[in-house]
């Protein structure tokens, strides 16, 4: 195969790979990282926030 052919093959395979990486796989609850000038400062776990909010709500009949 020509090197141009190999590059084209690599390009289309990359499309399939990226689709999988971004749209597939197991999903753990999303997190937020608050950063300033590329320095990660605060890491907020939404899963923990949601479960703590759910627990804090008074039980209704």
């Amino acid at each position: 195969m020509s090197s141009a052919g190999a590059i084209a093959e690599r390009d289309v395979a990359l499309v399939d790979l990226v689709d999988r990486l971004l749209g597939g796989g197991v999903v753990i609850a999303g997190d937020i990282t608050l950063s300033v000038a590329d320095v990660d400062l605060v890491h907020v776990s939404l899963r923990a926030l949601v479960s703590s909010v759910e627990k804090a709500r008074p039980q209704q009949p």
Binding site: V12, D16, R20, G23, G24, V26, V27, I28, T33, S45
Partner: protein, 188 residues
């Protein structure tokens, strides 16, 4: 911070810098969270890593960019889903994911007249797979198939047969991939 790459059924260790964190019979595949922009080489490196693990274990890949504070946080995040993940690992054991995309040859993707052909192609390919999943995309067909390792060659032959039977349809088959499209329960 660590990045969670995959979940496996085997907590045995693997080569550094990747660590396998045992968690209730499962193994969490983690590495130190990478810094800076991702490029294609980094993605291919990650892919090779998962393929290497897949040689010997059942592997469920995790979505790109899943970061947690440390191994303990990862184990805690996984704990409530342990049974569901164990079941998913069983569903993919011994199989790989193959990707197929179909476009109208010599025309922009999505041209009319080939929709039925693409449907028929999908049905025929699905018959050679344990499971299949269709995805959104500009092509006439964009699908993933969970194929037993031993059936991969036969699947590829089917793709080539379909290609010869329908020269107006351009088919592209890539793989093998870790089972990105088959990590959820059957209702997907």
């Amino acid at each position: 911070m660590i990045e969670l790459l995959a979940i496996t059924d085997d907590p045995a260790p693997t080569a550094a810098p990747v660590r396998i964190v045992p968690a209730g019979g499962l193994g969490l595949v983690v590495e130190p969270a990478p810094h800076g922009e991702l490029d294609a080489d980094a993605l291919w490196r990650r892919e090779s890593l998962l393929e290497e693990l897949m040689r010997e274990r059942a592997v469920l890949p995790v979505r790109l960019g899943t970061r947690l504070e440390d191994a303990a946080a990862a184990a805690e995040a996984i704990a409530p889903r342990r049974a569901e993940l164990a079941a998913a690992l069983e569903r993919v054991r011994g199989a790989v994911e193959l990707s197929v995309r179909a476009a109208a040859a010599g025309a922009p993707a999505g041209a009319d007249g080939f929709a039925a052909t693409a449907e028929a192609a999908h049905a025929r390919l699905a018959a050679h797979a344990r499971a299949s999943a269709r995805h959104e995309g500009p092509e006439l067909l964009r699908a993933a198939y969970l194929v037993d390792r031993g059936d991969v060659d036969g699947f590829v032959v089917t793709v080539r047969d379909l290609q010869h039977e329908h020269p107006g349809l351009s088919l592209l088959c890539t793989g093998p991939w870790p089972p990105y499209s088959f990590t959820e329960g059957p209702a997907r």
